[in-house]
């Protein structure tokens, strides 16, 4: 069952269009993510889904009800949504239990305290009900905010950069924890973030947004290996673009080697193209006759990220197992394995 339909939604403030014709859908229990650099319009889109911003084009449907339309915005309190805020926005004058119970005051006293107890257990803070928000750590406050949003059993939970105020080490762990809580409750959710690792750890499907446009909607795998635009290819993961020329339907001549793979239809033979080379496409092999000079090395524990320079000056990235210890300046033997060829027409040429 589809829970959320975002259909061709545009949002504008005065003259500025902040979001342009975004469309996506979420199934019951699916966790979607809006991923993009800061200022790309992702939070605005989330706030429009929540009902805090009117939309100027398209429509938003929640379950079977149209909640936003041009000229109509159902107020947030009528939408049966939950929201977790970047700064948590816990009410400082209420205890943890009162915060969680804030949205379910229509329940009987017994049901209410039962639900609060159940949620405190879910977030593993059973003994904290009587405390006040300021007495808790950031991670604990974050879970309280989540529990408060979940308490009324909303149709849709919205999370606005919920981990951005956490320490970097905590983020991924928390993201996995929150994911398992949401899955446990079978809640449909939309997450907004600028951090792709967070998106990969949390979401089932991810939409990349840039300058107000939803560029691609898909799984993390699809975005990484089958990016549909240069921006997505560049934004997700790391890698470099090298120049190439289309030889025939499935071969591209590059300075490295002729590469085989699926070439986009619009690229006719003779076309100049850009080919994406990911660090995992370049494999270290001491026996390989092909050598590249190591320009720099970043130790990352399990592996090293090398920046390599070919004879013609082309620079590549390569992930190499940590056991292979090579110094900057050395020649490194490499082979190439392009399982997915990512090719874009070269607009500058």
């Amino acid at each position: 069952m589809k829970i959320l339909h975002v259909d061709n939604v545009s949002i504008a403030y005065d003259q500025n269009e902040v979001v342009t014709q975004a469309s996506f859908e979420l199934d019951k229990g699916e966790i979607g993510c809006l991923l993009g650099p800061s200022g790309c319009g992702k939070t605005t889109l989330l706030r429009a889904i929540a009902g805090f911003e009117p939309i100027t084009h398209g429509s938003i449907k929640l379950v079977d009800t149209t909640v936003s339309n041009v000229g109509f915005t159902m107020p947030p309190e009528k939408r049966n949504i939950g929201m977790v805020f970047q700064d948590f926005a816990l009410f400082p004058h209420l205890t943890i239990a009162e915060n969680i119970g804030f949205g379910i005051r229509h329940l009987s006293k017994k049901d209410k305290s039962e639900r609060i107890k159940q949620l405190l257990e879910l977030i593993n803070l059973q003994d904290y009900g009587a405390r006040y928000p300021h007495e808790l750590s950031g991670g604990q406050q974050q879970r309280i905010a989540l529990a408060r949003g979940l308490a009324p059993k909303p149709d849709l939970l919205l999370l606005d950069e919920p981990f951005s105020s956490m320490d970097a080490e905590l983020r991924e762990e928390l993201a996995r924890e929150v994911r398992s809580i949401l899955k446990h409750e079978n809640i449909t959710a939309v997450l907004v973030t600028h951090d792709q690792n967070e998106a990969f750890a949390m979401a089932d499907s991810i939409g990349v947004i840039n300058q107000g446009k939803l560029l691609q909607w898909g799984s993390g795998y699809e975005l990484y290996h089958e990016p549909e635009s240069i921006f997505v290819a560049d934004f997700i993961g790391s890698g470099v673009f090298i120049d190439g020329e289309v030889m025939d339907d499935n071969v591209i001549k590059t300075s490295l080697a002729p590469l085989e793979g699926i070439v986009p239809k619009m690229c006719k033979p003779g076309c100049k193209v850009k080919v994406l080379v990911r660090p995992d496409d370049i494999i270290h092999d001491d026996c390989s006759p092909r050598k590249a000079k190591i320009v720099s090395r970043v130790f990352r524990g399990a592996n090293n990220l090398f920046t390599l320079e070919m004879e013609d000056g082309t620079q590549l990235l390569s992930l190499v197992h940590s056991h292979h210890n090579h110094e900057v300046g050395e020649e490194l033997g490499i082979t190439m394995e392009f399982e997915h060829l990512v090719v874009f027409p070269d607009k500058d040429a």
């Binding site: 269009e17 084009h57 947030p76 309190e77 805020f85 949205g103 408060r148």
Partner: protein, 561 residues
């Protein structure tokens, strides 16, 4: 499609007038009303100057200006030396009683300058206990010895410095506590002694805050009427009174007030400028606990002495004197009329507080809900009054109200043959209006800081959890704002209770307050009889000082965890 939508929106390009909604209209109206006295006073600069002005210009103005300047220079030296020293000692050094001094040093703020002037005059005057004691002990006659004259410009500087230094102390202390310890430690590793570190690093970093504190103290100095009048020093405020009541020339009084405004605006500029610079002087967001320099032996004695003197001279001695006077005169002074006095004062202060805080709430929420330039500017204009001396506001309110009364009276007489007399001027309404202009800023500041604690996302969270906008107000804002509103009420209440010159000029006939009674008794050379009303004012004035001291003891960021 894309083009179409951009076209639609771009058709709105061009200058747009702010929408005429309820917020805009009411907030702009309030700002205009609050600016009215200043505008009226300033407009008199464009009016022709009459012969009273010529007289003033030839004989008195030079005195007003020199005396005001001497006062400002003297008070600057006084408040800076006391304020900075005590702030540094209580924030950076460890010595017996440090925690006590860090709040007790604020206590002189509870004593209005004119009241401390009365107490020291009572003690140090020719007929006072000290000189009498000296004469009796040594058997000297009146001309056999030299004793410093309290009722002099030097005395006024002392009095004002003793009660105004807390402004500098407060700001400097906050700035010192806000500084990164790492910066000071860096200066030590670069070869500076603690004292050199203070002069070369801490003091320059705290300078913007100190300048803000100083400009507040100087605004109070310019606004002072009670002290200079009692000491017989001619300044702008006494000049305005003289011209208004003595000569009965409103226009010239207003012109004099406009000149005083010029001084005030110079100070306002200084304050704005230093506040702006303060942003660049914030050294860190990472805080570590301060490691204070441990004071031992004679150094500790010296430090305690340095902190105790301002407290002793600025609060303990004058407060004791007031107690003594109150007890010796209680039988005659505290009668039914005294309670009428108390009732009047409390009623006036409470009404003014209610009005100012209601308006501040309206402005605060307007600013929160409509983030427009018009509203921001309006709120800034409305909170300008704290800088304007009460005397100036009184003139600026009386002049238009008198004009209004005369116009209504003339019109009514012409058409209905009824004389309406004074409707606005000389009524409580006019007085309350003046108080609101003067003290609105106090309540705006308090309400703003309270509203700042309610993050906009809390409103959103409330809505997402099923509350209507009214529900958000009732269930989130009201419980959180309750304390803030009470604080704002209290601050205005106490300020009104202490206010002297505006009350003196504008009170209705035969309507007295505690401040006015203290002033009248002192003017009649019945100082002990001024004790009881003055003591009342000081006692109530201690309440906000306690609130303030609580706030500053919790003010160090990064420490509450």
């Amino acid at each position: 499609m894309n083009n179409q939508s951009t076209n639609q929106t771009s058709s709105k390009v061009g200058f747009r007038l702010p929408k005429l909604d309820r917020w805009n209209v009411s907030i702009v109206t309030i700002a205009l009303l609050m600016a009215l006295p200043v505008l009226v006073v300033a407009s008199f600069l464009l009016q022709p100057f009459n012969e009273n002005w010529t007289h003033l210009y030839d004989y008195l103005l030079k005195d007003y200006i020199t005396n005001s300047l001497i006062l400002m220079v003297g008070v600057s030296a006084g408040v800076l030396s006391i304020g900075i020293t005590t702030a540094w000692l209580t924030s950076m050094c460890e010595f017996p009683g440090r925690r006590f001094f860090s709040w007790a040093l604020l206590l002189p703020l509870a004593i209005p300058a004119y009241i401390i002037a009365y107490t020291y005059t009572g003690m140090l005057d020719f007929a006072g206990p000290l000189q009498t004691f000296i004469r009796e002990t040594f058997g000297w006659g009146p001309k056999d010895y030299w004793f410093p004259e309290v009722r002099s410009i030097g005395g006024a500087i002392m009095m004002l410095s003793l009660v105004l230094y807390p402004y500098v102390y407060m700001m400097a202390r906050a700035a010192f506590l806000d500084q990164s310890i790492a910066v000071l430690e860096a200066s030590r590793t670069l070869g500076n002694t603690p004292l050199q570190g203070f002069y070369r690093v801490a003091l320059p970093l705290a300078r913007p805050a100190i300048v803000t504190g100083l400009s507040l103290a100087l605004m109070e100095t310019l606004a002072d009427y009670g002290t200079v009048q009692y000491f017989g020093i001619s300044t702008f405020t006494t000049g305005i009174f003289r011209t208004w009541f003595g000569v009965g020339d409103g226009a010239t009084a207003a012109q004099l007030a406009a000149l005083l405004l010029g001084f005030v605006f110079a100070l306002l500029m200084l304050e704005k400028w230093s506040r702006k610079r303060a942003k660049f002087h914030h050294s860190t967001n990472k805080y570590s606990t301060i490691k204070r320099y441990q004071m031992k032996g004679w150094m500790a004695v010296l430090v305690v002495f340095a902190c105790f003197m301002p407290l002793l001279l600025g609060f303990i001695i004058p407060a004791l004197q007031l107690f003594v006077w109150t007890f010796t005169t209680a039988e005659e002074v505290i009668d039914a009329s005294f309670f009428v006095l108390v009732g009047n004062s409390l009623m006036l202060a409470a009404l003014a507080a209610l009005i100012a805080v209601s308006i501040a709430l309206l402005l605060g929420y307007g600013k929160r809900l409509r983030k427009t330039k018009v509203i921001n500017t309006s709120v800034n204009v409305a909170s300008m009054g704290y800088a304007i001396p009460g005397t100036v506001i009184a003139v600026g309110v009386m002049v238009p109200f008198a004009w209004l009364d005369n116009s209504i009276d003339a019109w009514m007489r012409e058409h209905f043959d009824i004389s309406t007399g004074l409707i606005f001027s000389g009524t409580l309404f006019a007085l309350l209006f003046a108080y609101t202009v003067r003290f609105l800023a106090v309540s705006i500041q308090a309400i703003d800081s309270g509203l700042g604690k309610i993050k906009p996302t809390m409103d959103d969270a409330g809505r997402s959890l099923g509350l209507s906008p009214f529900g958000v107000l009732r269930r989130i804002h009201m419980p959180i704002m309750r304390g803030t509103v009470l604080t704002a009420l209290l601050l205005v209440f106490v300020d009104v209770l202490k206010e002297l010159p505006a009350t003196l000029i504008m009170r209705p006939f035969n309507f007295n307050t505690l401040a006015v009674r203290a002033y009248e008794m002192a003017a009649d050379e019945r100082l002990p009889d001024a004790g009881a009303p003055a003591l009342m004012i000081v006692l109530v004035g201690i309440i906000p000082v306690i609130l303030l001291s609580k706030a500053i003891s919790h003010s160090r960021a990064g420490r509450h965890k």
